[in-house]
Symmetry: C2
């Protein structure tokens, strides 16, 4: 089947899937978990073949680790499916209702987006997570995983397709793409594919964003900032800076730049430098920073760099306004934090920093769907429309307007024979 045919089949299935009741979707999800458990031997065998091949091809250790998908991982994704079943169905919610006139009622009702294209890297768990999120939200999905995981992904997709079709889900709703050429072709299918969710490296996500007219949900960079204000509790500030940088360095919500108000720089910097030294973090500072504590000099490029590593750029700023300006200039619109004891300053920061997540006295690492209590995370978005920040199931739905009349025509209203009531119904 060509990618255009796969996309057409997914589109076809998506129409029917939009009307599948919650109960059927939940039963199908349970059937997926059951099938994954039942076929866990087969899945593990396919995964061993992938891992062996990857090892022979000298894949680096962290990627090998992510590629591995065995009994423990299968149990984890099945637990995830259990949680997903318990979440409310995002489809079919009445978002507003208004009586336009007697016997003419308008409802805004949530519905699936349609066909979602997801491109992810080596972790096979992502295939199960994203396809079950799409199913719960009534969307068809085109999936392309990392080529290292080809065998595993094939068995997983087949298992999910089979289990869901038997449970009454329209066949064709899940389609696996296998080559990079398929992905390139998918990027052109804006008639069939309604939304792309790329998961992976900065360069990869940016490539997708730059090569398609299809809307993209996601983020390329995560250059996150911690700003330590002159009115900050400096112990709190140090703890937040260290957690934001070090708690897990390889992720998008880790801090990359520390901004420090001039008024507290002399007291704060030596203290936090010692803490970062003990964690093995290299600091790269502006001239003012270097005048206070020994650091490597930061270049212009450092302010625009997502290290994803034990490196932190440090800049002394005059105050909150320079911090806001710096963040809006160099940041990614992802997650930025102010540490201050002053409410007005904090509110100014949170209002004027143009980022998805603006934090006051809390680590940037809280920026995450599970920590936010969304129940499931589709991804983190730095988009300015549709969905922003950590995105839960509600990012996979849109709405349609249902107007229920009894024969009304517009001529009667434009000629003044009738007038609108516009009375809220809910």
């Amino acid at each position: 089947m060509s990618i255009a045919e796969s996309a057409a089949a997914a589109k076809q299935a998506s129409i029917l899937l939009a009307a599948v009741p919650t109960e059927t979707k939940n039963k199908a999800l349970a059937a997926v978990a059951e099938a994954l458990r039942r076929r866990s031997g087969e899945i593990a065998a396919a995964n061993r073949a992938d891992v062996d091949r990857a090892r022979a091809e000298n894949l680096v250790a962290p990627l090998l680790k992510r590629l591995k998908f065995d009994g423990g991982k299968i149990r984890e994704v099945c637990d995830g499916i259990g949680s997903l079943i318990r979440l409310a169905d995002p489809v079919g919610r009445t978002l507003s209702g208004i009586e336009l006139d007697t016997g003419l009622e308008l409802y805004k009702v949530s519905c699936p987006i349609g066909v979602i294209g997801v491109v992810f890297e080596s972790r096979p768990d992502a295939l199960v997570q994203i396809s079950t999120l799409c199913l719960k939200s009534g969307n068809a999905v085109l999936l392309k995983g990392g080529s290292e995981a080809a065998e595993t992904n094939r068995v997983l997709a087949e298992t999910i397709a089979e289990a869901t079709t038997q449970a009454g889900i329209p066949s064709g709703w899940i389609q696996l793409l296998e080559t990079r050429q398929d992905v390139a072709r998918m990027l052109d299918l804006d008639e069939q594919v309604d939304l792309l969710i790329p998961r992976g490296s900065n360069a990869f996500v940016r490539y997708i964003m730059d090569h398609t007219n299809i809307p993209v949900l996601g983020h390329a960079d995560g250059i996150c900032h911690v700003y330590v204000d002159s009115a900050a509790d400096l112990d709190m500030a140090a703890a937040i800076a260290v957690d934001s940088k070090c708690q897990y360095v390889a992720v998008c919500n880790a801090a990359e730049t520390l901004l420090v108000a001039e008024a507290v720089a002399e007291r704060f910097l030596p203290k936090v430098k010692a803490m970062f030294d003990s964690k093995g973090v290299e600091l790269r500072g502006c001239e003012k920073t270097a005048a206070i504590t020994p650091v490597k000099p930061a270049t212009e490029q450092d302010w625009a760099t997502e290290y994803l590593d034990l490196v932190l750029s440090v800049k002394v700023v005059a105050g909150v306004d320079e911090a806001i300006e710096h963040i809006n200039r160099y940041g990614s619109g992802h997650t930025d934090c102010i540490v201050t004891g002053d409410r007005a300053t904090a509110e100014r920061f949170m209002d004027l920093v143009d980022s998805a997540d603006v934090f006051w006295n809390a680590s940037t690492r809280f920026s995450d769907g599970f920590r936010y209590g969304l129940g499931a995370e589709v991804g983190i978005s730095t988009n300015k429309i549709h969905a922003r920040g950590p995105v839960g199931l509600e990012g996979l739905v849109i709405y349609k307007w249902k107007l229920i009349g009894s024969g009304q025509v517009v001529a009667d209203y434009s000629e003044g024979k009738k007038t609108f009531k516009h009375r809220p119904l809910i």
Copy 2:
């Protein structure tokens, strides 16, 4: 000023505008209305120059009419501003709140999108409407109107900029582009411009959509359908078909195709043919239609054509499922109507037709922001994300997440020292 500089100025202003209080925005809107009234002589003079030039260049009569912007039109846009002032501010609404843990509260708060690029054709009223909508929703705006209206638009933009700056709105928030080259360059400025709203012809909107990475809010076509089911009240069906086609033919929510269930075609078609004849509507029918009533033959191309004229394509279908399939294949995802007395059939139609607006027993012409009671209309969108159908002010806002803590770090939660509460706050 180059377009890149204009966009940068707008971006800069948008940051500050996001935090401007409702009262200041409303006062600025009132100042705009006042300034338009005060300078109405100057505006009318500029418009006369545009109209004279357009007449000399042989602009067709309907466009000349749209171009005209005199005392009556100025009063109309000022009334519109009065209504806009009375609408609730879409910015700063708390959409959700959750206590993650003691002293760690997360709020999802609506905020402006940022910088909106709007490209519209000849009507100068559009400049006032769209810029005041952007102001109310806290967005900066880059505007490009039709070149026929250049003089009028220049005076209007200057009047609005001056009045709002004096009223405390950050200067630079409104920028007028003057050439087509400016528009082409704006399409590349995805770092500065967050959303494009093109208003105009099908070909024009499609051109914009195909030449930018910036998200576009709008619709290209409006191929809307009326499906007359076998369980329809045929008098009602005829009235809805006639209103949908004829009440105003040149607009996107007018019907272009009539689908008729085979079971009622012999009774319905001759009756509705007579009504369309009296309105001067040319029917183009499928073979089955032609066998019942004299019509021009429809070609494959007719099903995919937005006539915007007194022409209607007519097809006899087996029933609701064939109607749904036809609409999802040839339609624009805009507005489609079923006429039926059967609730289950209507629900099937409304669930499976993948359109922004799905109507049961009401004219497609109701698909409009003012008729929907939205108070103001930004445009009509056939997008599958962000905003769909008639879009009010809420289409010009997104949200940010504000997390208010008291020094919390993620390490405490990942190490099990603390656990999340996730208690809803609102």
